[in-house]
Symmetry: C2
Subunit: 493 residues, 2 copies
């Protein structure tokens, strides 16, 4: 079994395990107490804080341990916004932040604040000047991740920090994905991180607030951690977090180069191994261990299942995965294909032979999914999976002439070529069925004619244009329909 | 070294340690993921939830794991108040709740809500009818601890729950101190607990919300734990928490009886071993492992230090301990002496011989503190501590005739006997100096005459009346003064 989902959670680093078990006997007492057990716990906590602060590049009294990276983000945003309430209630975030940042932004909006979401380019990075343009006189806080958790793209943090500094706005950097690799460059004001991303235990986050940054902790008062993280601290976990951060940092440069070579191998070879693949994210300015690609005519959940059966644990930003029916907000903001999306995030120590084995099994896994869905170019599914494929085929959408009573039929706004258009009714069908049906019929209409894809799956809005770009067809646009939308595609070739 | 502060944090139970280390390899992945590592983590989390729910006596889907007991309390109060916002914004708490509850109540007040604090009797328990009387038509939530964390007194939870049920008000029970001993009786609506109180690891709290209770989680959205506990869960710690709860419950009846005998021994013998001691809390309706007493003419911090040197780790609700200059709110609400306060809270497995040794060293420890302070009846300090005592004596307050220019001297409202009163100027002196000086001079005024103790230490408000009750003198009352207050005592004997 190869675990390639380190961006979700890294396996516990051996140093973390050792530090955790070693401090269970010394770290359980209340560090605020004056007796021996309390003093011992305090010593452990102080040492961990110094080690973590050194790794971050801040003063120990600027760093608080929280109960998770999510808590660190929530506390940081709430505290920084409240601390600058007199300046205004405008918050700036990038469109591709982690959900903890975006949910905190939504909570801020629900409370009457305003939020600007800075768009990203096709690689997933914000443009520094675009980010700077979003800053206003009433901006209380700006947030930018150090690197994206889904595609690995590094953000121009130093440039954005300089722009924020010039505008007098504090910048919060969510460094969850990058802190194990190195300090965050630039003149940021607040920083958050999460230990289980670098091989520390779950249950430990970092919240750094630079001296001089206005900060008013929210929620009920609590004297722990300078009032910034309520609740009794889990000192053994904190010790393990700090020790493992130091350990991964010690080998970071060498391991980063090694993992970068492995992910470069995936980036370079996947398009040759699997047809109709889009590798997404910045090819150069990126984290060492993350590579993400999307496969046309495949659905993410089934693909994850096939890869799991083949011994690989990866994640997906596709819709139709267990917890969501919408594609990842990151892929949407980038405007890239979300179908059959696979994120490979290699843990420290990932073996080259496992990466090779992944490349060996990937083509069959994708082919199996495409076969089940009856995708263009796939061979018929055989064996135990055949019945499922039959069912899907039986349920596949119908193709009708425009003269039939489809919602778009009577639309007088349809242009001349609409007379030769086809309507693909994919209402009620989930990604990637709408695109598969589009691909099946595009060759049946004359060059210059259009196909209207009726769909109510959110993913179609992203995937139909992405398909057009990949296949050299023209995406005309989206038209309203009685149910869902009509995505209009013109055949160019 | 004997650790007698289990009510702060219990040492890690062997079963917790075993479960924690055993699940480090299986419990680190994201339980929301579909691949093998995620499924394993989910299985561990589900099993822990079932075990914890069985121990609480609730359905698994009513129980969420939080990152601490404090977080559980904060989330429970905020969520329950928001869920019943349409009913009103009145919150009822007892005056002796844990600070996490009281701080949440203060935050509620700061946000515009109203709070009633139900007083307690001298044993620390609320009166059920008094609690019921605090419920109003606009009461959104009521909170009551299962047992008090400082004095061990059990609260009449079942009776209060019945009153709340009759009034249609949900009752939140903070079961932090009692859950290891057994389920909470009565028809409560919400319950919170903290694993490190029963020997589980830090970093795990329980938040139980009964089906049908209106609850609206506050703060940014997060899909974890039914939306009730944001952040990636620390599954190894959760597994350890559940396993140790099960383990301590298995031996709870036998261990409770054993510890009760040990604390009963302390309750019974301390008054004979140390003069001028008040044992506080309910002698019968109490937790098995907690006993609390206060020593006249002693200060808590120095006493803790003496006991630490003698090998005992205990805590104190006195003022003048490291983190606070006010006596514990619990002792204040009970109206008992806060001077020289010692809480002994025995961990599971505490040895009888350690308790005997504690009783053996206690008299000398108290005598040493009293000697340093020059307390009545104490012998002069000798040896290495003498210089400190000299300094304190040199700084002791001055006793003046009322004819001197003390603030009370010109007060025309002073009654006839004031002509024979003394003024003790203890301004700027910390507990227990004001009471020590009072004790020194009370014999110098005629029976029927008064002593005015001028003090600006918050503890005097509690300790002067408590001293009067213990010594058979009359506490006349408190009068305003230019600085601090004048506490008026009449000599009766």
């Amino acid at each position: 079994m190869s675990y390639f989902d380190a961006a979700s959670a890294a396996p516990l680093h051996p140093v973390a395990r050792q530090a955790l078990t070693a401090s269970l006997d010394e770290g359980w007492a209340d560090p605020a107490r004056l007796y021996r057990e309390g003093r011992r716990a305090r010593l452990l906590l102080d040492a961990a804080r110094e080690a973590a602060a050194e790794a971050v590049g801040c003063r120990p009294d600027e760093l608080a341990f929280t109960s998770s990276g999510t808590r660190a983000v929530h506390s940081a945003i709430a505290g920084a916004l409240a601390g600058r309430r007199r300046t205004g209630s405008h918050l700036v975030v990038s469109a591709v932040e982690h959900s903890s940042v975006l949910h905190a932004a939504e909570a801020h909006e629900a409370g009457g604040g305003t939020v600007s979401r800075v768009p990203v380019g096709r690689t997933g990075a914000v443009d520094p000047s675009g980010y700077a343009a979003a800053l206003r006189p009433d901006t209380a806080l700006a947030c930018l991740q150090s690197a994206n958790h889904e595609v690995g793209t590094e953000q121009p943090v130093a440039e954005v920090a300089a722009a924020c500094r010039a505008a007098g706005v504090p910048l919060l950097v969510d460094a969850a994905q990058s802190l194990g690799w190195g300090r965050v460059a630039g003149d940021w004001s607040l920083l958050t991180a999460s230990a289980h991303k670098w091989g520390g235990p779950a249950g430990v986050g970092l919240l750094v607030v630079r001296k001089g940054v206005r900060f008013a902790p929210q929620g009920p008062a609590d004297e722990r951690e300078s009032g910034r993280a309520a609740g009794f601290p889990d000192i053994p976990a904190i010790v393990a977090a700090a020790a493992s951060l130091r350990a991964v940092r010690a080998g970071a440069a060498e391991e980063a180069a090694r993992l970068r070579e492995l992910t470069e191998r995936i980036r370079a070879r996947v398009p040759g191994l699997v047809a109709d693949v889009e590798v997404v994210g910045d090819p150069v300015r990126r984290l060492p261990g993350i590579v993400t690609f999307s496969c046309l005519y495949a659905d993410g959940e089934t693909l994850l299942h096939e890869l799991d059966r083949a011994g690989f644990s990866v994640s997906s930003g596709s819709s139709c995965t267990s917890s969501t029916l919408t594609p990842s907000h990151v892929l949407r903001a980038m405007g890239v294909l979300s179908e059959g999306n696979v994120r490979v995030s290699l843990p420290v120590g990932a073996a080259q032979e496992d990466v090779e084995r992944f490349l060996a099994v990937l083509p069959d896994a994708v082919a199996a999914v495409r076969g089940k869905l009856g995708a263009p170019g796939s061979t018929a599914a055989v064996g135990e999976d055949a019945p499922a494929a039959d069912v899907l085929v039986a349920e596949s959408p119908t193709v009708e002439d425009l003269s039939a009573d489809s919602p778009a039929a009577g639309d007088s706004a349809v242009d001349d070529s609409a007379a030769e258009a086809l309507v693909v009714d994919a209402l009620g069908k989930r990604c990637p069925i709408p695109v598969i049906e589009l691909a099946k019929v595009i060759g049946t209409v004359p060059v210059g004619a259009t196909v209207h894809v009726l769909a109510d799956d959110e993913a179609a809005r992203l995937d139909v244009p992405a398909w057009c770009e990949m296949r050299g067809q023209e995406y005309v646009g989206e038209e309203p329909a009685d149910r869902g939308s009509a995505y209009v595609v013109r055949r160019l070739a």
